[in-house]
Amino acid sequence: MIAVLGAGNWGTTLADLIASNGHAVRLWTRAPAQRDEVNARRTNEAAVPGLRIAEGVSATSDLGEAVRGAELVVMVIPSRGFREVSSALGEVLAPEQAVLHATKGLERESNARMSEVLLAETCARQIGVLSGPNLAAEIARRKPAGTVVASRFPHVIELARRALSCPRMMVFAGDDVLGVELAGALKNVVAIAAGAATEMDIGENAKALLVTRGLAEVTRLAVTMGANPLTLAGLAGIGDLMVTCASPRSRNHRVGAALARGERLPDILAGLGMVAEGVYAAVAARDLARAHRVEAPLLDGVYRVLYEGTGCEQALRELMTLPAGRDVARFQSAS
């Protein structure tokens, strides 16, 4: 039995995917109406319009009932509510249970990674992270995709593969939990810049320039914090960046586009009606870059556009007039 905590669009989609693979799934949601809708009508229209949820999914509003006896607990909770749910999870989780989270964000104020929150709030040790180019809407419509599961525990990867892997979902393995978490959170900031660039119509060259330099900054920061540089070139890094930057569907992309039209942040967020992790990740990115003394002008520019009223045009001008250093770090061949 597998527990999925959180019935937003990604949580519901994952629950459906896992159940389609023949597993019993308990889907936890706080809202009784949503629970009843899933159980009675096999739909969750607010989260994933049009999806007919597989029979193996049963929804519950009781966290203990969802988690007890599950060999794998999949957390799909936005970063803002992650600690609260983790804390409640700590009351019902047993030490032998594995926890996989699929949250691409960092905690506000503390800038903690989600695996760190789990370690601080629960007895969970066998922890993993799921990330990659996974637009929920496409996966809900049964389109093929690939994802990465990173854990220091091979058993967690094995459990995740058993749950998720099928002809329409490739599950790649990794052990760089920190790298995958940082890539998933920080690329959202770059996606906002890409959204703005698209809206500003500055051309594909400039957009590629922004995205690549943005990834270089994310890589520099993540590596300083202990990530494997190659993680950023994997599905959780470039893979996810390609989908978020290319797809106007992505929330962060939409935030960037609205900023370029001169809309104000509170109005944008109100209009979106969903969480755009990049809006918070921009604060984390700036704090972390300062704390680790890493230069990140593009990430900093996004922060200033979001929170200090800097215009997109001006931020772009500033970036374009910075001295251009090395493209990539010097390579030391192994031979």
Binding site: S87, A94, P95, E96, L119, C123, F153, P154
Partner: protein, 542 residues
């Protein structure tokens, strides 16, 4: 000793041999296993390399003769003979590891130790000491035993304890031996490097203080696995153990920022074996810090550190801890200056790194009771999973490091060194550590008033950090000011080392040994004090 595990030394040794041999035979016979001949050849290879550089003494010749015989037999050995050879090799290693240990001498040495150390402080010569047991114990005044002493006594009655201190000096194991005696705990088993047997004074205690032998020059993986197996079986047999998870003494003076996981994993292995045998025996890991105002062998440690990390022209002198006279000088110095060494016991952990309560029950990070056995369950049964268990041990190592940092006791010598180094760093503005140390080496006096002001700022930060539970302060740093700390620091740093580290000249301070100043300031590295960047190069990869 805990109930149900009354294994004697002979049983422990034979159990180690039996398990190790069984494991080798199993690994060699599985599909894709490399066969026993390859295992034996690997041992012969590593041992031949080691013996080529070894001194020509009795031990070397005996090892050489043994290997020659194995090498001669191997080509014609039947499978049964190969198994016998493997058993001989393992038994030989086990005999060597446990060879010095004798429980009777062990108990005697534990009683003698406090008198001996106190005697040294009063100025007896080491040779007289070993003959005489007179002398009132002054040691108590110079060794402060703090922290969770009752907690340690409590868990030692509930299960087997691994005491895990920071490691700065070869004096550590003796001080811990004495601290254990004062806490009325049964003695600890301790793996001592062969080098500690070279100084006649330490050799006496090392032979007898529960020390088994660790030969760091033996690169044979089979030897290292046998050592770990010995620690595991001894823990299962109810022997409390002393591990220094940092591996070797801190060469930079900084508190260890990572634990070596090899031996540390023995705690979890012992716990798992006990569970699989149906025993409820528990294992606890108790962190501990030893904070010295002065470090016996600071000079050779820091020079060896600088030589390892930098492209410098430093030449390592002979380690001063190998000379008995040095120990006498050091202990007398501590007594004469009325300095105190702080041994601080931390909160007990289970083998997974969870804190435990007074009843020995494991707690999750939010203080909720949990059953640690369940970390080992898969499909309802306790299992062995090396990758999983290595991760648990890694987490334990992280918790130890956190505990060490919180429980380290800041003292005036380090506070003065840290503040002074920071003033010099700002003044000299050198781009790297080695140039900075060389620049300090030149004659660069600093106004004492500036250093006192820096110490004042440092004190405010240290006191705030202590309130937040991030460090401990020694008496010399409480309710005091920069001037007083500079005075106390100068007394310590000016007295013991061959050259004073810092000296007062009129209204100025002059650094005479920049390397030692660096060593003592490093004890406060990594806390983000005075906004200073990290000066001490971080340890290598995990």
């Amino acid at each position: 000793m805990q109930p149900g595990t009354g294994w004697d030394e002979a049983h422990i040794a034979s159990e180690v041999v039996a398990r190790k041999v069984e494991r080798i035979l199993r690994d060699a016979s599985v599909d894709g296993g490399r066969g026993l001949g390859a295992v034996i050849n690997e041992t012969l290879y590593h041992e031949r390399v080691r013996l080529q550089g070894a001194p020509d003494d009795e031990r070397t010749r005996a090892d050489g003769a043994f290997h020659a015989r194995v090498r001669r037999d191997l080509p014609h050995a039947t499978p049964a003979r190969q198994r016998a050879l493997v058993r001989e090799i393992v038994a030989r290693y086990v005999g060597e590891i446990t060879g010095h240990f004798d429980p009777r001498v062990y108990r005697f040495a534990t009683r003698v130790l406090p008198y001996a150390l106190s005697g040294l402080m009063q100025g007896f010569s080491p040779s007289a000491l070993l003959g005489e047991l007179r002398g009132a114990s002054h040691l108590d005044e110079h060794l402060l035993l703090e922290g969770e002493v009752e907690g340690l006594q409590g868990v030692a009655a509930l299960g087997t304890v691994i005491l895990a201190p920071t490691h700065s000096s070869n004096l550590d194991s003796l001080l811990i031996g004495y601290a254990i005696y004062r806490m009325k705990l049964p003695p600890l088993l301790y793996g001592a490097g062969l080098n500690l047997f070279s100084n006649p004074l330490t050799s006496f205690f090392m032979h007898n203080l529960g020390a088994y032998t660790v030969d760091r020059r033996k690169a044979d993986p089979l030897y290292r696995e046998t050592l770990k197996e010995y620690a595991t079986v001894a823990l299962e047999g109810g022997r409390h153990n002393l591990f220094f998870p940092g591996g070797t003494r801190s060469r930079s003076g900084e508190i260890e920022s990572r634990a070596k996981l090899g031996l540390l994993g023995a705690g979890l292995a012992a716990y798992r074996h006990s569970l699989l045998r149906g025993s409820a025996a528990r294992v606890f890991v108790v962190p501990c810090t030893i904070s010295y105002p002065l470090v016996l062998e600071a000079a050779s440690l820091v020079r060896s550190f600088l030589q390892e990390t930098g492209r410098s022209a430093y030449v390592v002198v002979e380690d001063e801890s190998s000379r008995a006279q040095r120990w006498v000088d050091f202990l007398r110095g501590i007594a004469a200056l009325d300095l105190r060494v702080h041994v601080r016991i931390g909160r007990a952990l289970d083998p997974f790194g969870d804190e435990v309560d007074a009843q020995g029950g494991s707690l999750d990070p939010r203080g909720r009771p949990i059953d640690p056995r369940r970390y080992l369950l898969r499909d309802g049964a306790v299992t062995e999973d090396p990758a999983r268990d290595a991760e648990y041990t890694r987490a334990l190592g992280r918790r130890l490091v956190e505990s060490w940092r919180r429980d380290s006791v800041a003292l005036p010598t380090s506070a003065l060194a840290f503040a002074l180094m920071d003033v010099l760093r700002r003044d000299l503005a050198q781009p790297d550590l080695y140039r900075l140390l060389r620049a300090i080496g030149a004659d660069t006096p600093v106004d004492t008033a500036r250093v006192e002001a820096a110490v004042d700022r440092l004190l405010a930060e240290l006191q705030a950090l202590e309130r937040a539970g991030g460090i401990q302060l020694g008496d010399g740093l409480r309710a005091t000011d920069g001037r007083d700390v500079v005075d106390r620091g100068l007394r310590g740093l000016g007295a013991y080392h061959a050259t004073p580290v810092v000296e007062r000249r009129g209204a100025q301070l002059v650094v005479l040994d920049a390397d030692l100043l660096f060593f003592y300031r490093n004890r406060l590295e990594g806390y983000g004090l005075l906004g200073a960047p990290r000066l001490c190069p971080a340890a290598g990869p995990r």
